[in-house]
């Protein structure tokens, strides 16, 4: 049962033929396409990686752009606020200056009116004084003759 005989030689030749066929024909037919496919898969994965990376880069760029835009917007709003404040301040200053001018004019008017009223009052007091004096003296005083006197009197009042 354990006899080694010529069958061994035949088996050896069969093995060599099959090995040669698989080594020279089958394996190259399999290995080529498999390697090509693996290379394609590797390339695809690399491309995906690259895409991911450029996406990250784009995200970073977008972030910086948005940040800049936000900063600029804030700056513009700031400036606008400042300008508005300035305008309000200016308007206030203008208004108070105008008010002061109006008040000054009114005061002048009041003083003028008061002076005029005082003048009128003096005049009428002079008249009254003349009338009263003429009654007291029982004689008519010539207004023209005694104008100096009357004026002095009126100025004293």
């Amino acid at each position: 049962m354990l006899a080694i005989n010529a069958t061994f030689i035949g088996q050896f030749i069969v093995l060599l033929v099959l090995l040669w066929f698989i080594y020279k024909v089958v394996v190259p037919m399999l290995a080529g396409p498999i390697e090509a496919r693996q290379r394609r898969i590797a390339e695809g994965l690399a491309a995906a990686d690259q895409g991911q990376q450029s996406l990250v880069q784009a995200q970073v760029k977008v972030d910086t752009l948005v940040h800049e835009a936000r900063e600029r917007a804030a700056h513009i709003v700031d400036q606008a606020q400042k300008r508005a404040n300035e305008l309000v301040e200016e308007a206030k200053a203008q208004a108070s200056a105008e008010g002061a001018k109006l008040v000054a004019a009114a005061q002048q008017q009041i003083e003028l009116d008061a002076t005029r009223a005082r003048e009128e009052l003096r005049k009428s007091i002079a008249g009254l004084a003349v009338a009263a004096a003429s009654k007291v003296l029982e004689r008519e005083i010539d207004a023209n003759t005694h104008a100096d006197l009357l004026n002095k009197l009126a100025a004293q009042i």
Binding site: M1, L2, A3, I4, N5, A6, T7, F8, I9, G10, Q11, F12, V14, L15, L16, V17, L18, L19, F21, I22, Y23, V25, V26, V27, M29, L30, A31, G32, P33, I34, R37
Partner: protein, 269 residues
């Protein structure tokens, strides 16, 4: 198979269809089965490889063969670190051929003999790996490749030097022990390879025969006959299912160990 004694039955199944005498005896059944299966494996792999190289999205047989090839290539790559083109081909050849040959053990044990009998052949052992010639041929090729790998990586002088100087050391008194140990180490590899596969498949075949003996010579219907037939079916099916594991496992072992041996032969001591 009527009216045979159990020993006649087993002996009949253990006899090769032989042509010639002495050393020049040819086991016709072993040679025809192994060469036929080699042709089958080669054709199948070629057809599958053509599909793989013909399309970018292989399916079916192409994918299956590609999957087996990549698995074998991965196994070889995990053992041998170098250009492994030839070793992958070797492992792929050994694995596919041995699986094909071992699978013959799963054929009903008497069927091949009946077919061969119809062609006038008195005996027909269907399992080439249960013939020591079949396994020894593969083991001797591995032996040659192991020696070749050693010579190639160390040169003739380096290789011969290692024979006398390792493992004990380079001292004239130690040359003989070194030589002896190296011879044993080298020869144990093909012998264990050949005997392991042969022993496993021979024992598996023998157990199929013993199970088949249960139903041998049943002549009339009785409760006892029915029980023996039932037992034969249950045991035969169970052993066949278990044997699928052995078919693949032994092929895997015979694929991996040669690669391990060749990788070891290229290591420097």
């Amino acid at each position: 198979m009527a009216a045979e004694s159990p020993s006649e039955y087993v002996n009949h199944h253990m006899t090769h269809l032989t042509s010639g005498q002495g050393f020049w005896a040819w086991h016709v059944d072993t040679l025809v089965m192994s060469a036929g299966l080699a042709a089958f494996v080669g054709l199948l792999l070629w057809l599958a490889a053509r599909r793989v190289s013909g399309s970018s999205t292989p399916a079916g047989l192409g994918s299956f063969v590609e999957f087996v090839y990549e698995w074998v290539d991965g196994e070889v790559g995990s053992i041998y670190h170098g250009n492994r083109k030839f070793l992958t081909a070797l492992a792929f050849t050994l694995f596919t051929w041995i699986v094909a040959m071992n699978t013959m053990d799963l054929l009903p044990i008497d069927a091949p003999g009946m077919v061969a009998g119809a062609f006038g052949a008195g005996h027909w052992r269907v399992l080439p790996t249960a013939d020591i010639n079949g396994t020894a041929a593969m083991a001797v090729l591995v032996l040659i490749l192991v020696i070749g790998a050693g010579l190639r990586s160390k040169g003739v002088n380096g290789y011969l030097h290692e024979w006398v100087s390792a493992p004990f050391g380079n001292h004239p008194l130690l040359w003989i022990p070194n030589l002896l140990l190296n011879a044993i180490e080298l020869l144990s590899k093909p012998i264990s390879l050949a005997m392991r596969l042969f022993g496993n498949m021979f024992a598996g075949e023998l157990i199929f025969m013993l199970i088949a003996l249960l139903g041998l010579g049943l002549k009339h219907a009785s409760a006892g006959s029915a029980a023996r037939l039932g037992l034969q079916i249950v045991l035969g099916s169970g052993w066949a299912v278990f044997h699928i594991l052995i078919v693949l496992l032994q092929a895997f072992i015979f694929m991996v160990l040669p690669i391990v041996y060749i990788a070891m032969a290229e290591e420097h001591h």
